[in-house]
């Protein structure tokens, strides 16, 4: 920051008032004075001035920031930022500039933002400069780089300078700039290198070609990393939708075709929760997850007590009856909420993405869903392996009579197990509501996939489900760029069908006598 100014510091409003009708050379001095002002609004103000968005009202001379809309120009006070209504374009007048002033403004803006105390602001400033920087700004960056302590911003600055230097006439400088650029993944760097490589067969263009090859190699690497990430995120959605099923189908041997609709119930629970707490969307998911678990779990217990318990030992009939339940649930949702899709808001902490580097950024919602699915999976494993309920569930699934003889209320355990599986379906629905539209057909889209995951993994084996879900997800996403989304899905289905021929009991089959019964 510049320490002091010669004359007593005047506030920005006064300077702006003077700036309005001053001669161009006076304006230049006044802009200099604005730069040294400590007012925080100055940077935005100068940017607006450069962009031509800074006006003053003809009546009264108040400086305003305007943005043109259909009804007129929406204006805000230039210094306080407070709304000042909509005015007609004719009531406004622009602050006039010439090219010298524009150049000066650019330098001042670069200086102010590069020297800001706010790290995010400095970073944004450098990012903005990369690729569209003139010699004036480059000069500023060269000065600021010495004072910059943050490693990431420093390297960004170096790239910004290298981009300018690559265009210079001095071959040595160009070469050093190229070697700098070859480490960068900024799209601007690649574009500039491509320009240089077209230049002929000189040393510069050869160096540029090498650098391009290097960058593209790394870009490919990151692109495949991204594909794997997408695959894992798809896999975790599959995992979420399939582990509930792995319990009801795998542990209890019940084919629950209404599983998808239990997920739909979870998604609609999220929708209702958000309707009830419209002002605190950011926290809605923390309410929705347990609530969806409870709602879907209760519905599941209802299904088990009302229908499924009459059909134990008759898997095909269970399949049909639960399919009937799924139709009823779907139609109920259509009647209550309308057949149209409902959109569920994404909390602010889940939107946006984590930019690891310019070539690789991971969206937060997918990232959180991967973490969430792992969490749910771990919780489920804990419940089954470490709690009394889990012990009873495993006992009943292995030998019902023996468990009953030991005093386990098998009916109660069945209801609880089914409730647990259904509750997890509900939780999966909450996660899905963050990825897709919430509609009556939400469940149908996932039910076949979920069954295939469970069957592929091996029935009654949670780890198998985990491996199957993740590998299906990654495989699907790896195929997609080659053959397209729909064909990838078809191929996957065909491959699974073939796989089941080869290993009818899945990747990790259960062994022992239980299998054949």
């Amino acid at each position: 920051m510049l320490p002091f100014c010669v004359h007593a510091q005047r506030d920005a409003a006064t300077v702006l008032a003077e700036l309005r009708d001053a001669e161009f050379d006076v304006k230049s001095a006044l802009i200099g004075e604005l730069e040294s002002s400590s007012d925080h609004a100055v940077l935005a103000l100068l940017k607006a001035m450069l962009a031509g968005d800074l006006y003053y009202l003809k009546d009264g001379g108040r400086p305003v920031l305007g943005s043109v809309s259909d009804e007129g120009v929406v204006v805000r006070d230039a210094l306080t930022g407070e709304q000042a209504g909509v005015v007609d374009k004719r009531e406004l007048k622009k602050f006039t500039l010439n090219n010298t002033l524009r150049e000066q403004l650019r330098a001042v803006i670069a200086r102010l933002s590069l020297n800001s105390n706010d790290r995010a602001m400095r970073r944004a400033a450098v990012k903005e400069l990369i690729g569209n920087m003139g010699e004036t700004q480059a000069e500023q960056v060269r000065i600021s780089i010495a004072a910059e302590k943050d490693h990431e911003i420093r390297s960004l600055m170096e790239i910004a300078i290298a981009l300018v230097e690559a265009g210079s006439n001095d071959e040595a400088r160009q070469l050093s700039a190229i070697s700098k650029l070859s480490d960068s993944l900024e799209p601007a760097a690649l574009a500039r290198l491509k320009q240089l490589s077209d230049g002929g067969d000189g040393e510069v263009s050869q160096a540029a070609n090498r650098a391009i090859a290097q960058i593209e190699g790394r870009l490919n690497l990151y692109a495949s990393a991204e594909t794997v990430f997408f695959g894992l995120s798809l896999g975790s959605v599959l995992l979420l939708s399939a582990i509930g099923l792995a319990i009801t189908f795998g542990v209890m041997g019940v084919i629950n075709m209404a599983h998808g609709e239990l997920m739909m119930i979870g998604a609609y629970t999220t929708y209702v929760v958000q309707l009830l707490m419209p002002n605190t969307i950011d926290y809605s998911l923390f309410v929705a997850v347990p609530l969806a678990f409870i709602v879907a779990g209760l519905v599941g217990i209802g299904i088990e007590r009302g229908v499924i318990r009459f059909l134990y030992g008759r898997p095909l009939e269970t399949l049909l009856a639960t399919f009937g339940i799924s139709l009823i649930l779907q139609q109920a949702v259509r009647t209550i909420f309308s057949p149209l899709n409902r959109s569920v808001a994404t909390p602010s902490w889940m939107s946006g993405s984590w930019e690891i580097n310019p070539a690789l950024s991971l969206t937060y919602n997918r990232l959180y869903i991967i973490i969430f699915s792992l969490f749910v999976f771990a919780a489920l494993l804990l419940i089954l392996k470490r709690t009394a309920l889990g012990l009873k569930v495993r006992a009943v699934s292995q030998n019902r009579q023996m468990a009953q003889a030991m005093g386990v209320r098998s009916g109660w355990v069945d209801a609880m197990t089914f409730g647990l599986g259904s509750g997890i379906a509900g939780v999966a629905g909450v996660a899905l509501s963050q990825l897709t539209n919430v509609g009556p057909n939400l469940g149908q889209a996932y039910i076949i996939d979920s069954f295939l995951v469970v069957v592929l993994g091996g029935v009654g084996n949670l780890w198998g489900t985990f491996v199957a879900a993740m590998s299906l997800g990654v495989f699907n996403k790896l195929m997609e760029p080659w053959v397209g989304a729909v064909l990838a899905k078809i191929l996957l289905l065909v491959l699974i069908i073939l796989f089941i021929q080869k290993r009818p009991r899945g990747l990790f089959p259960q062994r022992g006598r239980v299998v054949e019964s």
Binding site: L316, L319, L320, V486, K489, L493, I496
Partner: protein
């Protein structure tokens, strides 16, 4: 196989005398095949007894569904293979017939291209894909109606049964099969009309499809084919092969240990059933005038299972009865309150599986037995 004609006759006669449901069905079909043409063509429009062409088409549709239900009943009711993808064979048969009808449109399409169907012109295709060759010939289309579903079922069944995929696993992969086919047929690049499917048919074998006489003829043909399909199926289930198939349903391992090649029996009944389903689809398409990928949707296959469950699986007559009853209910409900239909269908699934494991036929038998028992008891008292 040196069965003389008289022996065939005796088989037919035995079949006819032992199967009361079949007798009723054949009589009804005969009555329909005679009455419908008269009521539609001879009775003037506006007369009380006139049967509208709409109703004829609707009845024809029910009969196609009945044939499809017989096909499913063969594998599910008699062999215990619950296929959740049987509508796929129906749709494939339908597509084969649809392709023939498409080629018959010729220059009368919107774009007037003599060779290519409209949707191909629309996609800027310049020549007919190889798999459309031959479909301008009726005999070829009919061959494909039989071969395509049959081959698919054979290959799929060969793989599945050989590796002993049974029970729910088989159900789920058949569902995956029809789902994959649906996704594939939705793609425009497949060359089957994508989303819209095949439609706007003009004529079949030179007869205009919009004419009442053609519709009635199609209806009568459907009656005949259904009767033939019924007789053939009931011949199969009463034959030695049918007995083995039932044995496989009831105790697969035991049948295998007795020395029967379970896989082969399953494979043949599955393939035959798929062919039958394909024929039903081929009869269905010219009557309703459209075939699109939604016919492959897993829901259709499952609805089909419910027809058979409602009627009574393990009884061919029950399958026909279920198909007609459920579809009539569907027409009835979707007519005045579409939203009620899915509630009704869902409830039907649950009620039938819990309370009527043998379907309506089982219910009749139960009632009959009760009445007989009552009469016997009553008769006994009267005798005292």
């Amino acid at each position: 196989m040196n069965t003389s004609p008289s022996q065939y006759q005796s088989i037919l006669a035995r079949l006819y005398s032992s199967d009361r449901g079949g007798r009723i069905l054949l009589q009804i079909l005969l009555a329909l095949a005679i009455a419908v043409p008269i009521l539609n063509l001879a009775v003037p429009e506006g007369a009380a007894l006139h049967l509208s062409t709409y109703t004829v088409t609707l009845l024809g549709k029910y009969l196609c569904f009945a044939l499809l239900a017989i096909a499913l009943d063969l594998v599910w009711g008699y062999c215990g293979i619950l296929s959740l993808g049987h509508a796929a064979f129906f749709a494939l048969g339908g597509y084969a017939m649809g392709m023939y009808l498409m080629r018959q449109i010729g220059e009368r399409g919107v774009y007037g291209n003599p060779e290519l169907p409209d949707f191909m012109v629309f996609l800027n295709w310049t020549e007919l894909p190889w798999y459309w060759y031959g479909f301008d010939q009726f005999w070829f289309a009919v061959l494909m109606v039989l071969l395509v579903p049959g081959m698919l079922a054979y290959v799929f069944g060969y793989l599945a049964f050989r590796s002993r995929v049974t029970g729910v696993y088989l159900s789920i992969i058949t569902q995956a099969l029809t789902y994959a086919l649906m996704l594939a047929f939705f793609r425009n690049e497949m060359g089957f009309g994508g989303n819209n499917g095949l439609t706007d048919f003009k004529d079949i074998l030179g007869f205009a499809l919009h004419e009442d006489a053609t519709r009635v003829a199609l209806f009568v043909i459907t009656c005949v084919v259904l009767a033939a399909g019924y007789l053939l199926s009931s011949f199969i289930v009463r034959s030695k092969m049918g007995r083995v198939v039932v044995a496989i349903r009831d105790a697969e391992s035991r049948a295998r240990f007795c020395g029967y090649r379970v896989e082969s029996y399953k494979l043949w009944i599955f393939t035959f059933s798929a062919v039958l389903a394909g024929v039903a689809g081929a009869l269905y398409v010219p009557q309703v005038g459209i075939i699109n990928p939604s016919e492959f949707s897993p829901l259709n296959s499952i609805e089909l299972v419910v027809w058979v469950a409602v009627g009574g699986r393990g009884s061919l007559f029950g399958a026909v009865l279920g198909a007609v009853v459920v579809n009539y209910a569907k027409t009835f409900f979707t007519g005045f309150a579409p939203e009620v239909w899915l509630f009704f269908l869902g409830a039907l699934f649950i009620i039938v599986t819990i309370f009527l494991p043998k379907g309506l036929i089982g219910l009749f038998d139960q009632v009959k037995e009760k009445v007989l028992a009552h009469r016997r008891a009553g008769g006994g008292e009267a005798g005292l």
